[in-house]
Subunit: 393 residues, 4 copies
């Protein structure tokens, strides 16, 4: 290994890197195979991630507390976990409820056709919120892993939306009443494990949030893999969320388009897209966790898990360095300037409507053939970015 890569790209907690307990805790099992490694316990995860430079972890209720634990067991587990966090200087940045593993949720949780399932889901989530609050989580994520269908005859799609809204509204009130300092982040996914999931994209949730009783409490948690499954540009999705003030959390991993949920190591495939993503996060001043929601290859043994964790963070830091190089690259900046035509007068016109302005704009002699002669040099720009990424600039 070169001196360079040994020296650099070692994170600190200021980088705010977090990992789900289920990520480094993945057992290697998949739909076609049994587990291939003994997953570390939550306490081991905290102990191992801290020296790698991570800032914290995130938890599903049942990552920590088994679904059938007694109150005494729950309390013991939580106490031990909190001790580990304190000992290693780690935080729980995000918590969430598991509403997908148990058979009771086979046809949905908040959107189930069964009123008892919906009630149980609410109950489990209130308890999950309590747990999250106890652990100090400021963000509570909702991923509706079973909120979907294989047979659309089973449910009017509008009822699914209504039921989901009812649940989120109730839980917002719960958080407010409990005076928890906690916000919600909704995580979209197009399909898997259900044939189709409701709210398939980050955009769908941005629309939904505005129909809630407390929209200000609720944002989104976009995940690279989930938008990529639908072949969508993740940078654009996060851009829209940020611009709307709704990026409350983010799930970093990687994924090829149009495939099963791969949850690959961050930046291991989509080098260029992930560069734009890091650029956006850094330039926007987003100060939330950089949360990795990925898992090691099934072929890894126990020690490979930490190679994986290190790799996620290193790639983020390398791309962050590229962002700075991009900003400082005079040729890139020149091509960008040339591709832009500002015209303060014209822009002022379009900005604020008055009847007079509209009339003036409508009659303005704008020669489309002349205007079209000015062309951006995006092939050149894109090539410069590629060369920057490949480290030859």
């Amino acid at each position: 290994m070169s001196t360079k890569s040994q020296r650099d790209y070692v994170p600190t907690s200021a980088d705010r890197f977090t990992f789900g307990l289920w990520t480094v805790g993945n057992s290697g099992a998949d739909p076609f195979g049994t587990r291939t490694r003994v997953p570390p316990t939550p306490v081991e995860i905290v102990r191992r991630l801290a020296p790698l430079g991570a800032y914290g972890v995130s938890v599903h209720d049942n990552d920590l507390v088994p679904i059938d634990a007694t109150v005494a067991e729950r309390d013991r587990v939580v106490r031990e976990f909190q001790t580990a966090l304190r000992d290693h200087g780690m935080v729980v940045a995000m918590a969430t409820t598991n509403l997908f593993t148990d058979p009771v949720f086979a046809d949905g949780a908040f959107t189930s056709n069964d009123a008892q399932v919906r009630a149980y889901a609410l109950q489990k989530t209130m308890r999950g919120i309590d747990l999250g609050a106890e652990l100090g989580a400021k963000i509570f994520v909702f991923w509706g892993g079973r909120e979907g269908t294989e047979c659309d005859a089973s449910k009017d799609a509008r009822d699914a939306v209504r039921r989901f809204r009812e649940a989120v509204n109730f839980l917002c009130e719960y958080v407010r009443h409990q005076r928890y300092e906690m916000r919600f982040a909704l995580e979209a996914k197009p399909n898997e494990p259900r044939g189709d999931l409701y709210f398939p994209t980050t955009g769908a949730y941005l629309g939904f949030i505005q129909t809630l009783d407390h929209p200000e409490m609720v944002g989104v948690n976009p995940e690279v893999a989930h938008e990529h499954m639908a072949g969508l540009n993740f940078y654009h999705a996060v851009g829209q969320a940020l611009e709307a003030g709704k990026l409350f959390h983010i799930d970093l991993n990687d994924q090829l388009f149009g495939r099963y949920d791969q949850d690959l190591r961050f930046g291991s495939v989509s080098l260029k897209s992930m560069f734009y993503l890091v650029k956006l996060l850094e330039e926007s001043g987003y100060d939330g966790p950089r949360h990795f929601d990925a898992h090691p290859y099934r072929s890894e043994a126990e020690e490979g898990v930490w190679d994986f964790a290190r790799g996620c963070m290193r790639t983020y830091l390398i791309l962050r360095e590229k962002v700075r190089a991009f900003q400082a690259d005079t040729e890139i900046q020149m091509v960008l300037r040339e591709a832009t035509r500002d015209d303060p007068g014209l822009e002022a016109l379009g900005r604020r409507f008055t009847p007079e302005v509209a009339e003036r704009l409508k009659r303005l002699p704008l020669d489309r053939i002349e205007i079209a002669k000015r062309r951006p040099h995006y092939e050149r720009l894109d090539q410069l970015v590629v060369e920057l990424l490949l480290g030859v600039r």
Copy 2:
């Protein structure tokens, strides 16, 4: 042909079927081939569609008026077109601006990096709105065919959102000031002709609309093909839009997932999904146009265009008949009832938050193992739907 299919499935204007001028007016040209037929003129389209039972047409400004027409030419063209509409009892249900064909829009219209392009796009759209109003269109659609990128270095994704908002806000004021009785419908598409388009899904626009100055004036125009390009469930997308009161218009066609924009004859591929869509439109009381945005195969000659148009409408009517059969099918309705467990007491609890209710719900003895024993029979339900669709029930 059986007596049945000769008798039935002939539409009337009450069915509100409309066609874009560019659909039956398609020339058969594609990226790999020249035109294969002489497209009918707008007046011919009106004359031919009326006796087939269509209700109206929709127009891009330049479908009717060439981009470089003089005012006199424009007025003559519009007059002749209006005469044809009147003579044949057809309406213009929707109008829109072409912001994608001309080279001036090569890098976007409202989101272009060039202030002159943005101004020109505003100007062209105001004129397009005037034309639409003159033709009696109550819906004005925005499809941002060039609002996207191939090289994301060229533009901050947040600026694209801001610029698009500025334009839509301005144009809302314009419509209000002109006292046009007109609403806007935003049409999403994930990619093509740009590498990635901003606002790739109907959901993305539902989110965006809430950030406008006049959200009540603006809804969506979902298109089957566009959601299918991203492999998304169109029925779910339309369901969310309807539930939010935002389905202002709809583009009916068909498309295989994960492909170039195919714009196939309505219902020619996705029989089952299109059944659920028709079910939703009919059951929701949606009373807007059923607008076909498809085109005949390139191999068709002139006369095949009308086979195509007839087919779009027939399939809708056949599926509508299936919807009624579904509603009347006692076995299907029984399976649906069995799959649902209502529990008014529990549902009331979840509906309105009070601290007491929350406490009660949290402590309620809900046995997830018992609850999970009740299972829906969706394999049976789905098979019944398949058999209904195949006409063997």
Copy 3:
């Protein structure tokens, strides 16, 4: 339910419908959830499928015999299974080896970088072949569930091909030496559970087979879901295989394009494509098993499994009836005839090369503009097919 659907569509063993033990034996577990039902044992499966009209079953070695069974256990299990088969008049039409569940295959079986894994895979497959022969299977399927990569640095893609060939060649010799009356069928899949699988499509295997020592012993086992994952036309894939004399077995299910491996009930989504598939199988005289490789929704309880099995077979039979209606439909047949221009003289020219024929053909006055005037009416044809499928013709 109408009299019609009660009477019809009940299969007999002459229809040669078979089910994998793992299909109706699926437990409802998936990557995001635990099992939801107690799967039936192999003996129960035989007992339940026989009265539904199935012809037989197919087995992975470890569906029947646990991977760590003693010889005595193996023999007892096999004996009991054979008794059940005999008692219920069922056959084992196909057998295969499980080379994907155990951790030893985490990085491949025949293509592993570890010589011991490759040797173990050969050993396990020889034993699996012996088991298949003992059960009377005439077809042995190879699905290389772990023959792939996430990191292409790990292996030269050419070595993977070579290693796979070496294994298949060895096993062909083994079958010949054992004088088993058995042929091999290779099953392609593009990805999942590996990031990418080698031989991703049926076409890739058709190419590979010709490079084997005994190509005549080896054909393909195309699966609907696997080609659909890559968005490919399954009817075309099976057509090529049949035309090459290489369709040795087939896996019937359903799947949306560009998604995780869904293994949906046969014909539950792609009504039109599955119609063309059934048409091809029936018209070609394919006389192998119609093998269902699907599984019930996770939300089904035990009894729903048999609804699922019945549905697979019913839909096949309904589509087969549609094939006959297509053949007998005079309007469809007329449109087809009109779309075809035979010209025996011209066709003879193109069929057999001689220098004179080539010269004549080259100089023949063929007016492309005149020729192009004759157009097929495929919009009409396609609409007729849609209406036939929807049962309104």
Copy 4:
């Protein structure tokens, strides 16, 4: 620009980079827009590409000679083009026939249902072959741009295969009789411009070739974009073709999975996959053209075309340099060695079947649990590759 990137990555004709006339000759038109630039003439293309370091060009018959040219016009055009080639030291490395632009091919060429179309396609191709031979092309490519369907009722998929075979067999004989030193390369594509194209993947053609009369004359021409449209691993596809001795030509560009045919600048998206591709081409000793089949963004003006051409070649050269770095990287090579377990004894067993060897292998005590303990470190390996690509090693 840094000294480094100014100095390096300038190709010479020894690198064998070629461009289709239609690539740099693209006009910027697309399905939604008119042309945006005046395309250079073939002679200009030769004049401009030569100083950039290209080795040659490739041509469709009608890129050079209009479809309705007289013999005299044809001869003049060819003469001028040959003069330009000679003057600039360029070659025509590949030729092909356009069987897709003209309306006569609207429903296919060799697979058309119209015998006159099939005859005309043969005639046009013989003339195209003559032209190719006259220009010195050693490779003749077949891309069946219209050999497909939207309506599968129109044609039995097996007939399409048979007709295509008949045509290729005839044309092989033609080339042999003419004593042209020319081989055929078949180019697969899954869809676009037809709904589905026959022979959708490189694998499908590898299977087809073996059924020809002269398989030795025929290989494949895989294209990055075409395999990526189906979400397939291009490196694997080319690996299989190379291993079978069938890589006769290659089309380099880039493309996102599951989208319309993008034909992006080589290496502009899939940095990692294109690295493995270049590695394979270089390590295999492939000595054919590195042919770019891409086109500049529509937003480019005339001069941007040459930025685009330069970028294609530069990225190839940069990746080639990375290949050498990979080979020389001691850490990478060590991880690779550790991931491999050779066992010459075991490997010899599996290589050549004898009954004794089989018996021995079957009884060999292979402990799968022990074997599975040895694990490759692919997360580490993959991260090293990512860092190599990003230029931080």
